[in-house]
Amino acid sequence: MSKILNVQNLSVSFTIQGRKLHAVRGVSFDLDVGEAVGIVGESGCGKSVAIQSLTRLIPSPPSYIESGSVFFDGVDLLKLSMNELRSVRGREIGMVFQDPMTSLNPTMKIGSQILEGILHHRLASKKEAEARAIELLHLVGIPDPPLRFSQFPHQLSGGMRQRALIATALAARPRILIADEPTTALDPTIQTQILELLKQLRRRLNMSLILISHDIGVVASLCDRVIVMYAGKIVEQGPVAGVLNTPKHPYTRMLLHSLPRLDSGHGQKLFAIEGSPPSLYAPPQGCPFAERCPEAMNICERTPPPAFSSVCCWRYDSRCQK
């Protein structure tokens, strides 16, 4: 498979009241054509910042891209002018955000919001675009598309709004769809519907997908590969089956272990990771997880571990005594 996206050493920081917050610290990953990658991590681990920085969606200031490159089709998106970037956003890389209540414009009809993307990129005449918008509403499973086309967001339920939002993201037929916690705000039965929709769309349109989620189950059901982030860094990445069934990094292992399972019994004490993630104002010098890691060695606190194939952990260095 060929690479569609190549992210190298991406670092993003924010300046907040004169203090520097290191949100993303040297993130590198690839995305193949047609591949679905899931990014998991706790809130504040930098997963959304990293992904929104790919198309520079985070206002600068307060954010600064400190280093790195994002190659899309051989072009470094981080070096493009705002005008050039606009032909990528929405057109090549579509985005679905978490909250369908706030990410649709409440004063615009659903149809116009879908048309906006098509017309902005001059992909079709107004008339063709309208036909396409209705086709898109149909594609994302909204009943009675012509009616919904001329309704406002508040007339739709949460699940319908999320479907409409997906339609707007698909309007210009992007090659990559980024979905940032697309089902977090939804109820479980509606979540299943939306996940199935994303699965089908990906197959049908041969899109690449980047899915951000804190729900490991959601990633397991939808993705081919998973990236685990912690405190601004990637700690482990690899095929979903490998990472989730035989996690290598102590953090991934403990995180999976701490999740309540349906086969766990009542009153059974859960395994808990003690402590909380480090402050990103003063990120630890070495491995970000060292402080909470039961397997930490002296080197872990001093020197950040390099990637040993799929995992960033000193335990996998050949010099480490097993």
């Binding site: 039965t189 804190h214 490991i216 309540p260 909380s276």
Partner: protein
């Protein structure tokens, strides 16, 4: 078994909207016995929080009665209710919104003691130290403000506040869902340990069914303001009788990708009906994959389907 700690009898709660009436709770009855945890699950808007708040008399029920330790508290006046409230407390979902940002941690935790005029300053300080210890917060943090704490620590502050008056009954309204994944297990363990050590009774509202499995002894499934199934946690998870419960259990994504790819998914069409215009028959009939003609005509009532296990479905 002994007397239930709290009992709800045919509770109805209706809100008047601009031009219609919204019946949020429709004829709900249940009992929670001392030391039990009733897990309340259902989709957003199904009336879980309204029911919990009605139970605490934060809302007054439109009809029906609430019996707490054998006493009917449905129509108690404010003075008598205040005394009952010492026994029933609440832990909220959002640890950021439920703590006053201008109050220090000690003021937040000691406020219930001051409201109920319990102890002098010295005794209150002693209680404060004990409460901080109970929820595993350092005793030195009393003078700090909520914003200095992480989400998990804030939830601990909220729990300490709920425990201040030594209540018997605590409503936990999604106390875990707003927390980070690695912190959720810590708080769940804390709630379990507190229940054991202080002999607490919980009403636990959640949408994470796996968490309910761990924390609850009994589960009630709500749909459109009604209980459609209630029973012991093992019963509900191993023999769900209502199609909605079955679908709800099947909709939890599994963490194991191999199991996940193998399992058969049941998809639920559509969305819950509006509580202002509930359907005539079963409230789930329009989405139910196994609906029969009778489901559209006649409302099913809760019938016993197993030990302590009831479901409202014509299939049974």
């Amino acid at each position: 078994m002994n007397q239930p700690l709290i009992q709800a009898d045919r509770i109805v709660k209706t809100f008047a909207l601009k031009n219609c009436r919204l019946t949020a709770i429709r004829n709900v009855s249940f009992s929670i016995y001392p030391g039990q945890t009733l897990g309340l699950v259902g989709e957003s808007g199904c009336g879980k929080s309204t029911l919990a708040r009605t139970l605490l008399r934060l809302y007054d029920p439109t009809s029906g009665s609430i019996i707490f330790r054998g006493q009917d508290i449905t129509h108690l006046g404010p003075q008598k209710m205040k005394a009952v409230r010492r026994q029933m407390q609440m832990i909220f979902q959002d640890p950021f919104a439920s703590l006053n940002p201008r109050m220090t941690v000690q003021d937040i935790i000691a406020e219930p003691l001051q409201v109920h005029r319990i102890g002098n300053k010295e005794e209150q300080n002693k209680r404060l130290a004990h409460l901080l210890d109970l929820v595993n917060l350092p005793s030195t943090c009393g003078g700090r403000f909520p914003h200095e704490f992480s989400g998990g620590q804030r939830q601990r502050i909220g729990i300490a506040r709920a425990l201040a008056l030594n209540p018997e009954f605590i409503v936990c309204d999604e106390p875990i869902s707003a927390l980070d994944v690695s912190i959720q297990a810590q708080i769940a363990n804390l709630l379990l340990a507190l229940q054991k050590n202080l002999n607490l009774t919980y009403l636990f509202i959640a949408h994470d069914l796996a968490m309910v499995k761990v924390l609850a002894t009994h589960v009630a499934v709500m749909y459109l303001g009604e209980f459609i199934e209630i029973g012991p946690v093992q019963e509900i998870f191993s023999h769900p009788c209502h199609p909605y419960t079955q679908i709800l259990l099947a909709s939890i994504p599994l963490h194991d990708p191999i199991q996940e790819s193998r399992r058969t998914q049941i998809f639920l069409q559509g969305e819950p009906p509006s509580p202002t215009h509930p359907p005539k028959g079963c409230s789930f009939c329009h989405r139910c994959p196994r609906a029969m003609p009778v489901c559209f005509q006649e409302k099913p009532i809760l019938i016993t389907v197993g030990k302590e296990h009831q479901a409202a479905c014509h299939l049974n």
